[in-house]
Symmetry: D3
Subunit: 244 residues, 6 copies
């Protein structure tokens, strides 16, 4: 696991291949398109999925990586549907963080439809902390991401997003990328955190939810996020999002 | 203001003509279609709207009433954009309540984009209480609605809906009814509580938001509501809305 | 662990024998009395209780099952006071779920006085999810309950119940069933999630708390619950529970 | 309105005669019994009540004052069911506060079943602030109570009490005092903030709710309160109320 | 009230002279120093303050305006300690908004120690909405600020700030400006929303609170704010404020 | 691990040496100074800290214990940065609780900057419960602390403290005690839960935060805490902390 050539600007660490695309695909496409170094670390290979094998899902993930413009996509090889926030898993994730040196890490919200999502949120938060400890017995130089961000798309919890990223220019490419996951999304009405809207197809369901999140910042499509910290605003007169 | 022939099953009391349609039009169409006696009380004639006069808005409201299947539509004649929860306004609303005798009253959520909406929520809650007082100096027999329900569609507040009504079979008619309000919704991207989604047309914006609320109960389209009380469930095994 | 003859309508999965009775005994009695197939899965045998052995507690649980009218009562044999949400425990619970095929699963609230209760809430939620996975290495056909419900009686947390079940006609039988647990409740003032009310006897303390929950739906006695999802209401004019 | 001989230790300012007794009667009896100077200011004479006149309610209130051991009971003469937080009402209440000089003021919670209760909470909070202003054109010396406390009994809002007062030794006298209000409570199942428990009589309904609040501090009967400020604890080892 | 030469970038609308300085003085100094057009509208002249007359307070406010670098400071002349959110007051504020055309309006948080602060928050929010109505009978061209921001410094409510502005380079000037209000802050330990810290002088108390808010974004001094809407983030990799 | 001579009045159980001092050092000094028996149980030796060894940190902790006036300071020897709430750890902590018999246990808040802090909160809560079980296979007599208290200093979560302890007379000694931890705090700007305030030194940062918490009870310096239960107030007229 050698260090990559340069630190990543953004690393999404999610439980299964396709989770990053569903939850923050538009945001990743947007940053990559601006020349940011963007990566995805899939914690598991999704081998417990009822459709598709680890191999076919891996090919889908690779194809998606190309379309998003990822500088890096890796799989941590942790067990699907049996993810645990234990010391061994934390060390594995910390080693990837040391190798990839991301400024910003994006992960699942703290509550999830799938237990792996909830565990991932906790595991990633802890691994980001630990990877900076000099005495941690893990390969690589100590490193700590500056910030942890939670992707909250589709979650029905009461907490509204702290911020939304405008993905109006990326929505079609996001849906195209999702369409690459044929074993997962073809002919289904729900997947991952996406609850069904009757018999509406999954891609269309993703589209209407992104439209909902877009309305929160008054744009056609958006992806929602939460952070644990207050935000900093440098110049208050440049704040967007109209109140009325 | 003579008492109508029979008590209403449902009365929506909203600030402006078209608010009831935007916030709970599908639900009213659904109940009316089942033979419930459904009414709307518009608190103001919407005379301060930048487009349309009170007269044209009144004609639109009448046309909409027919399409919804309302047993009753009235205007309380309170001042648009200057609604107050004062004693006089409460007595006016209480008199309508005594005349219409609704079991369920639906009104605005307690916080709103437009101040009239916030005031309406409070005014309606208070008037429903007062109308039952024997000594209240208001025409009509003392009467109290059984329950107050808040229509929370489009509100960005943190509180998620307590319940959602499936309007998948009513969504097209709801949008058709909204289209009758040409002075208000033609060529606009926002109105009432509806925040814009970029340059998406208002009816399409309503559609995607109803799709979002539908997802909360796993159906194509829904309208969301909150209540102040716990709900009663008679038989727990008949509960719908899947957890996973 | 053969599949039972027919799927269960309701399955309460609780940490210790008597927890189901304390938290939702009235609701179980009510549904069983209407011909629903109701079951209880005790995760542990309660062998760490200061009074009574696993054997005596088992006899009490069996007697209670008869009085409630349960179609099924099982013990998962997990360790009392050392319950863990680990992979092995999840598989054991998932196997029972596959065998019993319940539509609705009731479990503990997410926070508890006793750590086993908190762990049970999480373990049950995760096991219900996993039991539907085709590739899960657990006996039985893949199956997922439609819905998870949390019994919140006695919990002092801030969140009020989403709904309450009227158990006014079942309160005396509920208390009679509790009285069968002589090793646990005889002469005590507190047990399980029930905090003491000075030296008031446990059964009387349960009674006053059920009266409190009943007041939330304006009836003599009730049992409170929470769900993670919005509720669906089919006809808004039939909503009960008066606002004033 | 001459100043009384000595400042009051506690003044309950409530909307209607009997509100103080329902919401914090036990606490007032307890403090009065210890020699504290306790008073009640009824904002209205309750003249809009469906049963009883202002005169009969006044006699009931006087009788109750004697049984509680009040040093002072006054009526501010504001209009029942039409209470407003306007400048004139604030000045009237401020004048009473200047005359009575209470250290602690108890009032209604900020949300109420009856609109007068909600308005009272706001009116009392504002009047306590204003009464200290030197330039306020109100008779009496500037004075500000040290603290405002909200009595939250019977409220179904999500916020649990900040603290509870043990009234186990006062519960019977509290109920006896309530029984003096024959025009209000005789043969009824609900009143003021007290929601009904089916056909359980009002006094018995009060009793079970006080038992519920008592459980929050592990005693037979209690009355619940909230404050806007953090509490101060002098010696942490003397904290009561067991966690388990 | 002629329109000023150019629209304001920021307008703080607060209840009393000195409130803007206490709550967001550093932020105003910062933006003015960058060439933004910054203004303050004092709703009242503070004539009810126990120290200082309206005239002396006016001179202090003028001196402060110069030190902050304000493009505009006005007083709306509404009554101190008797502020109301009534139609007349809303029209007066709306007229100022039409004249000053601010992009961003900053006001008090929705709950306050002083009632005028709470009322101001509501009055300002409503007036910003109304000032855009073509039919509103108020001088000036219809205009609506893009956004409303609440300054939450010193408030003890549970809600943490949505964002904080770094005022480390402005803290000394902020304190110097406060020192100009000699009638209000000289020799006192509390004022406005500032609760006392024992006998610590007011300016020092402001300093320690600004240090506390600074810690929320990891800088020496900050001022906290809340907004009703989600925030928009353009490039997620540029987010500041470390998580660990 | 023999039982100490007398039960402890207060035991702080924290993850690392110096956590107790940072979070509640003033409160411990205050109670010890009044003759209470106060102890600290460090769960780990802090051996993963980037500066200092377990040995040097142990010497610092011993020196601090003397300055605080502790009757007892122990280290549980659990692994730093790998703390787990597992059965073995719970038994180790339970054994210490049985030996030390504290009335009140203070621990970390439930969310933390460092994962060990979050785990400690849960581990301590569970161990306090278990230590009372007769059948628990742990040396010592069954014992349960009366109450669990969370020290919330520096936490940025939304929940404000339930209560604050005035440490104005202890602040200098608290800072002196912290200064004994030279390997941890010398020349640093952040540590434990203390977020940095730019380049302000750690002790000065602790001072300003304690000043902030003090303001919540209107005193110069304070330490904040939360509890899971309602508080009991014996005499409402003796409540401190002014509302205005």
């Amino acid at each position: 696991m050698p260090a990559s050539d340069a630190p990543l600007d953004i690393l999404a660490i999610m439980a299964h291949p396709d989770d990053a695309e569903l939850l923050c695909g538009g945001t990743l496409i947007k940053s990559a398109g601006r020349g940011k170094r963007v990566g995805v670390l899939d914690l598991t290979a999704g081998e417990m999925g009822s459709s598709g094998s680890a191999a076919t899902r891996g090919r889908e993930a690779t194809a998606a990586a190309g379309q998003i413009g990822l500088a890096e996509r890796r799989c941590a090889g942790l067990p699907d549907s049996a993810l645990e926030n234990d010391n061994e898993s934390r060390h594995i994730v910390a080693e990837h963080i040391r190798a990839l040196r991301p400024s910003i890490v994006i992960t699942h919200w703290k509550v999830g439809r799938h237990r792996d999502h909830r565990i991932a949120a906790e595991l990633v938060r802890d691994a980001c902390f630990l990877s900076a400890l000099k005495k941690l017995d893990v390969p690589g130089e100590p490193f700590r991401p500056r910030k942890l961000v939670y992707a909250t798309a589709f979650r029905e919890d009461a907490d509204p997003p702290d911020f939304v990223v405008n993905i109006s220019d990326q929505i079609e490419r996001k849906l195209d990328v999702l369409a690459l996951y044929t074993t997962q999304f073809d002919g289904v009405t729900q997947a991952g955190e996406v609850y069904p809207g009757g018999d509406r197809g999954l891609l269309q369901q993703v589209r209407v939810q992104m439209a909902h999140y877009g309305s929160l910042i008054r744009v056609p499509y958006g992806e929602p996020f939460r952070v644990d910290e207050a935000m900093e605003v440098n110049e208050i007169s440049s704040l967007g999002v109209s109140t009325y």
